[in-house]
C-alpha cells in the first residue's frame, strides 16, 4: 500500500517536472535522459547479477534487440500507427507504449532462448554465453540491411510501389517515397515513468516471500533446492525480467537518439552496466541507482580521455574490490556481539 501511494505520487511528480524540462539546456536534458536509461539498465541487471547472483555479461545485447526492434516498428509501420492512433499527443503516446512493450517482449523472448539452456547447467556458463550472445546480436545487426547494417539506422523509406528499405536502393532512385525518420517520443516523462516502474517492480518483488526465492538462489543453491525452491526457474525468471527491462531501455534510447548504430551496443556497453551494478553493491537498489547516475556523469568530465574509459572502469573495480568489496552502498554483514 505504502509503495503504491509512493509510486502513483512519483508518477504525478514526474508528469509535473516534465512540463518544466522544456526550458532545460539541451545538454543537461540529454544527460538527464541518459541517467534515466542507465538506471533502468543497471537496475534490471541488478536483478540478475545482484539479487540472484548470476553473472550476465551481455546486457547490451538485450538493449540492442529492444532498441532496434522498436524503432524499426515505429518507422516501417509509421503509416499504420498514424492511421490508427493519429498524431496527437494521446495517439503518439499509445503508439510509443506499444513499441516500448514490443521492444521489451522481444528482448524477453531472446532472454528465454539464451537463458533456459545456459541457466540449467551447473557452473558459470552464463557469463560466457551472454557475452557471446551480445556479440552475435551485434554481428547480425551489422549484416541486416533492413535496419541499416553497419551504417546504422535512422528510419524507413517507404516507396510508392510498396517497397520498404533503410536505404534507397539504386534501381528505385526514380520512384517517389516518403522517409519516416524515428520520431522523438522519448522524453523526461516516459523515461522516468519507466524508472519509477522498475523501482516499484523490484522493491515489491524483493520484499515479497516470492522474492526470497531469488535471494536464496544467490546465497546457497543446495539449501534453496532442499527447501523446495526450483532454482533454475528463479534464475530464468530473474534473467528474463532483466532482459525485458533492458529491451525497454533500448527502445527509450532509440527514440531519443533517433539513430542507432551496432557499435552503441558493443562489449564496452555491457561492461559499463556491470560496473554500475558492482560499484553500487550487488543487490542494493539505492546503491546501483547512485552508481548509474555517477557513471553517466563521470564520462562527461573525462571527455578528453574517453579512450581510457575501459582502463578507468577496470581500476575502479580493482580499488572497489580492495576497499569496499560489498560495493559503495552494499550492506556488510556484521556479526552480532555474543553475550
Amino acid at each position: 500500500m505504502k509503495n503504491k501511494i509512493l509510486f502513483i505520487s512519483s508518477l504525478v511528480l514526474i508528469f509535473v517536472i516534465n512540463i518544466f524540462t522544456n526550458s532545460l539546456d539541451p545538454y543537461f536534458y540529454t544527460i538527464l535522459i541518459y541517467i534515466g536509461i542507465n538506471i533502468i539498465l543497471a537496475s534490471s541487471l541488478n536483478l540478475i547479477n545482484g539479487y540472484t547472483g548470476q553473472f550476465s555479461l551481455g546486457h547490451a545485447g538485450f538493449m540492442a534487440i529492444g532498441g532496434y526492434l522498436s524503432i524499426a516498428v515505429t518507422t516501417y509501420f509509421a503509416p499504420f500507427f498514424i492511421n490508427t492512433f493519429g498524431t496527437g499527443v494521446f495517439g503518439e503516446s499509445v503508439s510509443f507504449v506499444i513499441v516500448l512493450l514490443l521492444g521489451g517482449i522481444a528482448a524477453a523472448i531472446a532472454g528465454i532462448i539464451v537463458g533456459v539452456p545456459s541457466l540449467r547447467l551447473k557452473g558459470d556458463y552464463l557469463a560466457i554465453t551472454t557475452l557471446g550472445f551480445a556479440e552475435i546480436i551485434r554481428v547480425i545487426i551489422q549484416s541486416l540491411e533492413v535496419i541499416g547494417a553497419s551504417q546504422g539506422f535512422r528510419g524507413a523509406y517507404i516507396f510508392e510501389n510498396g517497397v520498404k528499405a533503410a536505404q534507397i536502393p539504386a534501381d528505385l532512385s526514380n520512384v517517389p517515397f516518403i522517409f519516416y525518420s524515428v520520431p522523438k517520443y522519448t522524453n523526461f516523462f516516459w523515461t522516468f515513468t519507466f524508472v519509477a516502474v522498475i523501482i516499484y517492480f523490484i522493491s515489491n518483488l524483493m520484499s515479497s516471500t516470492y522474492g526470497r526465492g531469488f535471494l536464496a538462489v544467490k546465497d546457497d543453491e543446495v539449501a534453496a533446492e532442499s527447501m523446495g525452491v526450483n532454482t533454475t526457474k528463479f534464475k530464468v525468471i530473474a534473467f528474463v525480467s532483466g532482459a525485458f527491462f533492458a529491451g525497454i531501455a533500448g527502445a527509450l534510447y532509440g527514440h531519443f537518439n533517433l539513430y542507432l548504430n551496432p557499435e552503441d551496443f558493443n562489449f564496452l556497453k555491457s561492461v559499463e552496466i556491470v560496473v554500475m551494478v558492482i560499484l553500487g553493491g550487488m543487490g542494493s537498489m539505492i546503491g546501483v541507482i547512485i552508481a548509474a547516475i555517477l557513471l553517466t556523469i563521470l564520462p562527461e568530465f573525462l571527455r578528453g580521455v574517453s579512450e581510457y574509459r575501459m582502463i578507468i572502469y577496470a581500476l575502479l573495480l580493482i580499488i572497489m574490490m580492495l576497499l569496499r568489496p560489498q560495493g559503495l552502498f552494499g550492506i556488510k554483514l556484521k556479526p552480532r556481539k555474543q553475550t
Partner: protein, 254 residues
C-alpha cells in the same frame, strides 16, 4: 505402508562404497535414530533420500513413489525436508527471511500478484508471518527474528535450520546431527524439543547422531551404520548391548 522405504541401496564414489545394500524404513509418526561412527555413510543416505545423489543401485520410495527420478526441490515438494550437518543457512538473510524461503514452494500468489501487491498477496504474507512466529516461538527464537542468521550462536543456528525445514510443512524431517556443538544439557533439551515437534505436527523424523547416548532417550528405533552397512537395528536398549555396535564404536579412532 511405510512413509519411507529404502531398498537395497548402494552408493559408490569411484571405487569407494559408501552405502552398501542398505535396507531401511521409517513409519508414520516415528522418530528413528541413525547412528554410526564418522564416515559410516549417514549423511550420504540423506543425500540419496533428498535427490542430491542418485544411488548406484537400489531404490528409495516415499509414500509409494520412487524419489530417484526427482530433483531435490521436487523431493521437498513431496514432503521431505532436511537440515545440514555443516549448517547451510542463507547468510545474507535475517532469521525470518531464512524461514520465509520455505514458504516459496507453496505460494498461492506468484510473480505478478506479488509485484502488484494484490489483496490475496497481502493476506498470504500475513499468514506466513503468523506461521513463522509460531515456529520461532516453539524454538525460543522469536527475539532473534531480525538478526542475520549467521550471526547467531552455533546452537541457535542449528535450531533455525530445523525451523526452516519445518516451515516447508514436511511429512518426513531429516535432521543431520542437530545437536552437534551443543553441551550435554542443551543436547537433552533439544532432543525433547524434537520429540515434541514430532507429536505436535504429526510428522516422522529420521535423525542422525554421532553420539549414541544422545538418541537413546528419545528414539523409538535406532539404525546403526558402519562402513555403509546396517550392522544393527532395534529398540534403544537392544542396540546398547549389541556386541557389533560396541565393537564399531570401540574401533573408532578419535
Amino acid at each position: 505402508m511405510n512413509l519411507l522405504e529404502i531398498k537395497d541401496c548402494t552408493m559408490r564414489f569411484g571405487g569407494l562404497t559408501c552405502v552398501d545394500k542398505l535396507n531401511a524404513f521409517v513409519g508414520e509418526n516415528e522418530l528413528v535414530g541413525m547412528i554410526g561412527p564418522n564416515g559410516a555413510g549417514k549423511t550420504t543416505v540423506f543425500n540419496i533420500i533428498t535427490g542430491v545423489y542418485n544411488p548406484t543401485e537400489g531404490d528409495v520410495s516415499f509414500i509409494g513413489t520412487s524419489v530417484i527420478p526427482f530433483k531435490p526441490y521436487q523431493v521437498a515438494a513431496l514432503g521431505i525436508s532436511r537440515t545440514f550437518q555443516n549448517i547451510r543457512l542463507f547468510s545474507g538473510m535475517s532469521v525470518r527471511d531464512n524461514i520465509r524461503v520455505s514458504f516459496v514452494k507453496n505460494l498461492r500468489t506468484g510473480y505478478f500478484k506479488s509485484i502488484l501487491q494484490f489483496n490475496s498477496y497481502i493476506s498470504e504474507e500475513k499468514e506466513i508471518d503468523k506461521r513463522t512466529d509460531e515456529l520461532l516461538e516453539i524454538f525460543g527464537l522469536l527475539d532473534a527474528g531480525e538478526e542475520f542468521a549467521r550471526s547467531l550462536p552455533y546452537g541457535e543456528q542449528r535450531k533455525v535450520e530445523i525451523v526452516r525445514a519445518l516451515a516447508t510443512s514436511p511429512k518426513l524431517l531429516l535432521l543431520d546431527e542437530p545437536a552437534a556443538g551443543m553441551n550435554p544439557t542443551e543436547k537433552v533439551e533439544l532432543m525433547n524439543l524434537i520429540k515434541m515437534v514430532k507429536d505436535k505436527f504429526n510428522i516422522s523424523i529420521l535423525l542422525i547422531e554421532h553420539d549414541m547416548k544422545v538418541v537413546m532417550g528419545v528414539c523409538e528405533r535406532i539404525l546403526v551404520l558402519d562402513y555403509g552397512k546396517k550392522i544393527a537395528e532395534g529398540k534403544p536398549e537392544e542396540i546398547k548391548n549389541d556386541p557389533k555396535v560396541i565393537e564399531a564404536y570401540l574401533g573408532e579412532t578419535h
